[in-house]
Symmetry: C2
Subunit: 104 residues, 2 copies
């Protein structure tokens, strides 16, 4: 879980995932829109790989990457535990009004 959230904590890696959601891409294609060297982008791919978010298939000299979304499901499940807390605000406000009615 640490690895997944850490992988998501960098814009370049989120951009990679976003593009991989459309189709498979090579490391070079993933690196192309980013303003950094190919070696730096390659490291980011490795971070995504260690988090289980990307699988790599080496065909010849090309490394084709594809999205592996399963860990994102775990992360989403973890976050949904807190769903009450960002939907509950209206309820709390509502309770405040009713308390004013009885309390004061």
């Amino acid at each position: 879980m640490d690895a997944v959230f850490h992988a998501l904590a960098h814009g370049a890696r989120r951009t990679m995932l976003r593009r991989l959601a459309e189709r498979e891409l090579t490391v070079g294609e993933l690196a192309e829109p980013l303003e950094m060297s190919l070696a730096a982008a390659s490291k980011h791919v490795q971070v995504l790989e260690r988090a289980g978010l990307v699988k790599r298939t080496v065909t010849g000299r090309r490394h084709v990457c594809r999205l592996e979304a399963a860990p994102l499901a775990s992360a989403s499940a973890w976050l949904n535990f807190y769903e009450r807390h960002w939907t509950e605000r209206l309820d709390a406000l509502e309770a405040l009004f009713t308390d004013e009615g009885t309390d004061r």
Copy 2:
């Protein structure tokens, strides 16, 4: 967004959030179950604060923390973009995805 995911990428901080989901807690109470010094735990609280996930109210010498779940809603929304990838295994409708570049 970087800050939110980074804040979630450490077990100690996730434990803090989990406990804050039940009730407000002081820094000392948050630190108590963790196997680290109070000063270290205090730094973790600061990380959560910078990410907007925790608000602090200083009353006397006690610093009372409460959960601020709104940033988690954003993170959850970001993750839900990928929901189809872990629910629909091999779909041919991926061309429906909208523009990629605007991560941020």
